[in-house]
Amino acid sequence: MPRHVVATLRELPPGGRKRVAVDGRDIVLFNVGGEVFALADRCPHQGGRLSEGRLVGLVEAAEPGRYTWSRGGEIVRCPWHGWEFDLRTGRSRCEPSRLRTRAYDVSIEPADPGPVETFAVTVEARRIVVDVPGR
């Protein structure tokens, strides 16, 4: 699977987000507490950009009146109609098999030292790499 360097961690600190284009595809990156996620930046419902959406937690209820809240920041809510997508899978909360957006594998790799070693390699300079299948 082709691998694409899309950003550095300096560009995408914890709490940050970034839209990128890879091979013609719009992708949104989220850094949630140091973990980076990549989703296709298009809601499969009507096409809202998930990069404009709010990151929320997962609210569930075993029964009316008994609520749990977990996984803070790991769910993105579409900026239009509010569909919730799991950053880890791209699946929607309400119709996970039918309505899902593409989730891409992400890895964080050491900075490319470049042709000359001009700068000290720092954690912030590490590269974020997204695996995107070829067309």
Binding site: V22, G47, R54, G82
Partner: protein, 368 residues
């Protein structure tokens, strides 16, 4: 492996359709944006005593509604102000990329509608109408205003309709679905007579300040109940208009039900016709089944379109109601916006789809 990092273009893909959007909500850029259009006496009164509504919650029901300001999160203008308050941003984000040939403005919020001080209500309605012309229709030839009227004061509403009659900048008279009494009752008839005389359809948009609980069962707990309840509220208004004989009395009246869905309409009309066949003597002013009046005189905007799991079920509903009864609408900039390129499943003939997206509204509102 290659390396590609570039900023994305900010203009969404253009849709191939030309559409008429029958529900756009213009907002004021600042709270005092209406001041130039409002006499000083009313500015002072509103600043000193507020604008009491027919509702326990002074500023209307609780916000935010699902999204901040009940709006698309990407619809906040870059220059500031709330969603819907910037014409240039509306043009760039909505009118141009979505192929909007014409758009009908439906102002909501503090427009005078539902105000308990009727003189203040009439003054606000008139100011909102002047504001629509000066700041929207006068600056974009695609836009048309709605005649906002203080419908709880029918003589004042009639005066406002007559003031705007003949002005092609106005496409319809605007009412809301939550009213002091069901809209078919006789106190409201002068509004319909004036609208028909002016050649203006009457749009009835979901929402408002009637003073009653927003469901027939009382105050609900959740926003989702309000959202879903718009359809039920619109049904009660349509039932009242049909059974009180408004259409029998005023054949030239044309009514548009806005932002309350439409999939309920065929079942409602079936039910009304069944009851009418058995209880006709109670409403002898209806010489034909209620559905006959509706199919001649009532239109429905499409948004928020029902989305059944099987698309053909929606197409069945449209066929039952008639492609000629539906008017496309987005509700821009609100969060439940319908994208014209994505919302309607494939089906229907090209002519039927063109009617829904454009031609029905062009004929009804006289847009060309």
């Amino acid at each position: 492996m290659n390396v590609t990092v570039r900023p994305l273009a900010t203009t969404p893909a253009a849709s191939r359709l030309s559409v008429i959007d029958c529900d756009i909500h213009p907002a004021r850029s600042t709270p005092d944006a209406l001041a130039p259009y409002l006499e000083q006496r009313w500015q002072d009164l509103a600043a000193t005593f507020g604008t009491p509504r027919r509702l326990g919650y002074q500023e209307g029901v609780a916000y935010p509604k699902g999204q901040p300001n009940a709006a698309r999160r990407d619809a906040w203008p870059p220059e500031g102000g709330p969603p819907g308050s910037s014409l240039p941003f509306m043009q760039a984000q909505h009118l141009e990329p979505n192929g909007v040939a014409f758009g009908i403005l439906n102002p909501l919020g503090a427009t005078g509608q539902g105000f308990r001080n009727l003189d203040l209500a009439a003054a606000y309605a008139r100011a909102v109408n002047d504001w629509q012309i000066a700041e929207w229709v006068g600056r974009d030839a695609r836009l048309r205003a709605s005649v906002v009227v203080s419908y709880e004061d029918p003589p004042a509403a009639v005066a406002e309709i007559e003031r705007r009659a003949g002005d092609r900048a106005f496409a319809q008279v605007l009412l809301l679905t939550r009213t002091a009494e069901p809209l078919g009752q006789r106190r409201y008839w002068p509004i319909y007579e004036a609208a028909a005389a002016a050649g203006l359809p009457v749009g009835i948009h979901a929402f408002g300040y009637g003073g009653w609980p927003m469901t027939a069962g009382g105050w609900p707990s959740y926003y989702i109940e309000e959202m879903t309840g718009h359809a039920a509220c619109a049904q009660t208004q349509l039932i009242s208009l049909l059974l009180e004989g408004v259409f029998a009395r005023i054949p030239a009246l044309r009514v548009v039900m806005i932002e309350a869905g439409f999939a309920w309409a065929p079942a409602l009309l079936w039910r009304l016709d069944r009851h009418w066949a058995r209880m006709r003597a109670e409403t002898p002013h209806l010489t034909r089944p209620p559905s006959h009046y509706a199919r001649e005189s009532v239109w429905w905007t499409t948004q928020p379109m029902e989305e059944p799991e099987r698309h053909r079920h929606l197409l069945d509903v449209i066929n039952w109601l008639g492609w000629d009864r539906l008017l496309f609408a987005t509700d821009y900039p609100h969060w439940d916006f319908d994208d014209p390129a994505a919302v309607l499943p494939s089906g229907g003939t090209d002519a039927e789809r063109r009617a829904l997206f454009h031609d029905n509204a062009a004929a009804l509102y006289g847009l060309a």
